[in-house]
Each structure stands twice: as structure tokens, then as C-alpha cells.
């Protein structure tokens, strides 16, 4: 029987980048960073709604959840962007992968928010401050946090330019690292609340034993409340966690039931939910023994495809993308052949994984006929294109896959005709009596 190691940690560092998707979009397209920008929600709901809103658009009154037509009504200059969940997920996966090098216990919660278990790291990094510094350094390495001048090796003039950039609010907003906040404490809730209190680029540490004092002054909104409970508590004059804890626990339970007990205990700092990490899968192997030794490259390439498919179908691979793949072949007369490929962009699609292997097969084929061919996935990265961290359900993942295929086709078309020719039809005021107000086109920008 296999025993699954349980990766859990009571002490937690919560890493949080608010509006992660929008920031990733603006980091990729700096030319729109100075415009009032909003992302359209990635689901297929009708009418389409606004998802994440940049400060300039927010100042004009645009809010998440508004319909696109409402948002345009408030801000005619609004730049609407089609969301690219796969790109955001990839960016987030890079951050998660970087954090895994600090601690094996990493729990992604949503785009831009991830918990790092820090139990036992004192031996490596010392105090919580040291652990946080390690987290910040790793996140900086994957571009999520800006290095200080001395660390990044930038010359003074360059750094001055960067500082000027940093003072420009629009430029500042587009850098995910400018918003990287960390909270450290016992349990996920305390660390999350600490992260929400941290200034962009900095950290808040809640020392053990100080949870109740820290939480007492926090606003009620930090609790996982439904709108009705929130409203009722406010009507009772409860505005902070301290005010909630001042009420007898049983009184809160009698008003709000089991959920009330949980809220009271969270507010009192009595609940410490551990960070639970995922176990990185063992290497996945798929092998094929030929009836007669095979020397034709086409046949070997076909066999490679089949083996990669088979390995991808292994249930242990679910939730992981392949980073390193290795192929070895047993040749006639006892010789062997081995190639290994490290994918720059971890992937879970056969074409991406098999492509470098086939290139190697062409460049340096086996020296003899192959009797047995083995494909082995030896390293993995969190998240997959099919089952993303961001889009956990199969429907959303399928939509993301279709969008990616469409984007790839659009890029090719743009390369060939060199001008934007693809648009996305969007409902603006479908109820309008004026036909020209009902629908509009926005550029489809892959």
C-alpha cells in the first residue's frame, strides 16, 4: 500500500497580488497601461460583464460586475480587453513554481493568492522576516517583485529611470511586482488578513500569540461572510472583529448558526487552518516493445506520439504540466539511445511535448533498430492547460483551450495581413431600439 505523505503547515505566508489578471495583461501590453482599462469577464454569460477594472476606469465609475454597456456609458473612452485566462494562469504558475523552491508546502487559492507553508523553514532562513525575504527573492526571480537596486545590479541612471517609472501611477499599476504583498501568521486566515494589511511590496508579520490582538482591529469584511450576514452584523453595530468577539460566542451561534460559530472563532484567532500542499508526482513512464525492431523514423515518431499520449493520460499527471521529458530506446545488439528535453513552457499537450523529441530524433537518430521505446515525464510544473489553477472546471478549461487555439490562428492571420482584421462582436445595448446601438466590434487581440 502506498502512503501519501501529508504536506501541511500551521504557519503560513500568504502571497497576494490583487487584480492579478489585469496586471498581467498590462504587463504584457504596456501601451494600454495609461488608458482606462477593464477586462471582460472570462465566462460566457450574457450580457458580458466587466471583470477587473484599472484605477483610471474605476475613477470614472466603472465597477466589476457591471455590464459592458453600463461601463461604456460611464466611461466612453474605456479600453475593454478580452481576457486571456491561459496567460494569467501561466504567469501564476510561474509564481507558484518559484515559491515551491522556498517551501514544498504551497497552496494556490485563486489567481494572485497563494499560501506558502513555513513550518520548519526556520532552520534554513531563520526568523519569519528571513522566510519572507526568501519568498520575496524567489518571487522577484520570476518577475513578480522588483529587486532593490543593489540586488538587481542596475546602474544608477537606469535605476533613476525605473524610479521615474515607479512614480507614474499607470506604469506602477501594470507591474505585478509593485503590488506583491505578504502576510505571515499562524494559519491561513491570519496570514491572509495580514497580507490585506500589507502595503504593496511589503509584508506584515503577526507573531504567535498576537493573533487576537491583531485581528481585533480588523474590519468585518475580512471574514468570509455572505452579504446577508455582513449586513445583519453591521445592523447590530458590529464593525470590527474585536466587536464580534466581544459578543458571547453562544449569542452569535444562536443568531447565525454553525457559520456564526466559525466566524466568531476565526475573529478570535482560535481557528488555525493549515496550509496543505500537493505532492509532486513521481515520474510517469509509458513504454512500448516492438514485435520486430523498428528503424523507420516515421514509425518511431508515431510511437512517440502514442507514448506521450499514454503518459499524459496517467491520472497522476492531472493538475500538473510536464516540464522535463525523457525518451530512451533499447536498440538491437544491446545498444541504447537517450534524449531529454526541458520544456521552456511546461505543457500538457502532446504536440508541445513531442516536438523537441522529434527534432532530436531527426538530428541524432538511434544508431540501430529500436526494440523498446520508453517515454518518461520526470519533472512537472503546477497547473495544466486543460485543468488550470484558475479555471478548475472542465467547461472553463475547454473554453480556455478553444480561446488559445483561436489566438494562435489570429496571430498567424495578423502576421500575414499585417493589420487588425479580426474583431469580437460584443453586445452593447441589445435592447436598444436603435439598431446601431445594439452590437459593436472590439479588436480581437491575441
Amino acid at each position: 500500500m502506498t502512503v501519501t505523505p501529508h504536506l501541511a503547515s500551521d504557519s503560513a505566508a500568504c502571497c497576494w497580488i490583487p487584480l492579478f489578471a489585469l496586471r498581467s495583461e498590462l504587463a504584457r501590453r504596456p501601451e494600454i497601461a495609461s488608458l482606462p482599462v477593464a477586462l471582460v469577464a472570462p465566462d460566457t454569460a450574457r450580457p458580458p460583464r466587466v471583470w477587473q477594472v484599472a484605477p483610471l476606469a474605476r475613477r470614472a465609475g466603472v465597477k466589476p460586475g457591471m455590464t459592458v454597456s453600463q461601463a461604456i456609458g460611464l466611461c466612453p473612452a474605456l479600453k475593454l480587453c478580452e481576457p486571456d485566462p491561459v496567460h494569467y494562469d501561466e504567469q501564476f504558475a510561474r509564481l507558484v513554481a518559484a515559491l515551491v523552491t522556498v517551501s514544498p508546502v504551497v497552496e494556490p487559492v485563486e489567481l494572485g493568492r497563494v499560501f506558502v507553508g513555513t513550518d520548519g523553514l526556520e532552520g534554513l532562513y531563520g526568523s519569519p522576516e528571513g522566510i519572507i525575504e526568501a519568498v520575496q527573492m524567489r518571487s522577484a526571480e520570476c518577475g513578480m517583485r522588483k529587486l532593490p537596486n543593489a540586488e538587481c545590479g542596475m546602474r544608477n541612471a537606469e535605476c533613476k529611470d525605473k524610479r521615474r517609472e515607479a512614480n507614474d501611477p499607470s506604469l506602477k499599476f501594470r507591474n505585478p511586482h509593485s503590488a506583491f504583498r505578504i502576510g505571515w501568521g499562524r494559519g491561513k486566515f491570519v496570514s491572509w488578513v495580514a497580507a490585506t494589511r500589507a502595503r504593496p511590496g511589503s509584508a506584515v508579520i503577526v507573531q504567535p500569540g498576537e493573533e487576537a490582538k491583531f485581528l481585533a482591529s480588523q474590519r468585518l469584511a475580512v471574514l468570509p461572510l455572505d452579504p446577508d450576514t455582513h449586513r445583519r452584523l453591521l445592523q447590530l453595530g458590529v464593525k470590527t472583529l474585536g466587536a464580534l468577539v466581544a459578543l458571547p460566542e453562544e449569542a452569535v451561534v444562536s443568531q447565525f448558526g454553525r457559520a456564526g460559530r466559525r466566524l466568531w472563532r476565526l475573529a478570535a484567532g482560535l481557528v488555525s487552518e493549515p496550509v496543505v500542499g500537493r505532492v509532486v508526482p513521481e515520474p510517469i513512464v509509458a513504454a512500448l516493445t516492438f514485435f520486430t525492431p523498428v528503424g523507420e523514423r516515421d514509425l518511431l515518431a508515431h510511437a512517440l506520439d502514442k507514448l506521450v499520449d499514454r503518459a499524459l493520460g496517467d491520472p497522476r499527471r492531472s493538475g500538473w504540466r510536464v516540464q522535463v521529458v525523457r525518451v530512451h530506446a533499447e536498440l538491437e545488439h544491446g545498444a541504447s539511445w537517450l534524449v531529454e528535453a526541458t520544456l521552456k513552457d511546461p505543457s500538457a499537450t502532446r504536440e508541445h511535448i513531442a516536438a523537441p523529441l522529434k527534432t532530436q530524433l531527426e538530428r541524432s537518430p538511434p544508431a540501430g533498430a529500436v526494440e523498446r521505446l520508453v517515454v518518461e515525464f520526470t519533472a512537472f510544473a503546477p497547473g495544466t492547460a486543460e485543468l488550470q489553477l484558475f479555471a478548475r472546471d472542465a467547461g472553463a478549461a475547454a473554453r480556455a483551450g478553444r480561446r488559445r487555439a483561436l489566438q494562435s490562428a489570429a496571430r498567424e492571420i495578423a502576421l500575414r495581413i499585417r493589420r487588425p482584421m479580426l474583431y469580437h462582436v460584443i453586445e452593447v445595448q441589445p435592447w436598444s431600439r436603435l439598431p446601431e446601438r445594439r452590437y459593436a466590434l472590439i479588436d480581437f487581440e491575441p
Binding site: I32, L35, V425, R433, P435, R438, Y439, L441, I442, D443
Partner: protein, 90 residues
């Protein structure tokens, strides 16, 4: 007409046309900006839209027509300016 690189581009915007009317005010010939006049074979539904009376009133008289040769077109007269426009049927 595109308003700019970062703006929405409205679909089914109206195109200016010249319309000749008979003595009852019914369109008989429609001329697009590029092209010769096309006789109208039959007139279908007509309707009127009054909108946005609270700011810049929009008052239109719509006429659905079949052109000679079978093309279907929706024309409207802007009753504020007297100009005629064509739009695609929706």
C-alpha cells in the same frame, strides 16, 4: 467608421442615401452614395422611433423596402433633419 484604435466600433451604422418619394411620401427610388438610383419594387412595414427625448431627441420613420431585383433594405428618415439613411435589416 472607426473612432480610434481603442474604441468600440458600432455595428450596422446607418449610411446616408438619397430617396425620391412619390406624392404620398412613399419611397420610390433610393440612391446610395456610390451608385445609381435603384427603383423600389415594394414597400413593407413602416414604423416610427422616438427616443432620447430627454437629451438630443431621435425621431425616425423607418420603411422596409424590397429593391428591384430582390434586395431587402431598411430605410429611415431622420425626422429632425429630413435626411434619409439605409440600415441593414435586423
Amino acid at each position: 467608421m472607426r473612432n480610434g484604435p481603442d474604441r468600440l466600433r458600432a455595428l450596422n451604422t446607418q449610411k446616408r442615401v438619397e430617396v425620391e418619394l412619390d406624392e404620398h411620401g412613399v419611397p420610390v427610388i433610393v440612391t446610395r452614395e456610390t451608385g445609381n438610383g435603384k427603383p423600389i419594387e415594394s414597400v413593407g412595414e413602416t414604423w416610427r422611433i422616438d427616443d432620447e427625448w430627454w437629451r438630443m431627441p431621435i425621431v425616425r420613420r423607418y420603411v422596409e423596402v424590397i429593391l428591384e431585383g430582390g434586395g431587402r433594405l431598411v430605410l429611415f428618415e431622420d425626422l429632425m433633419t429630413g435626411e434619409w439613411f439605409a440600415q441593414m435589416p435586423t
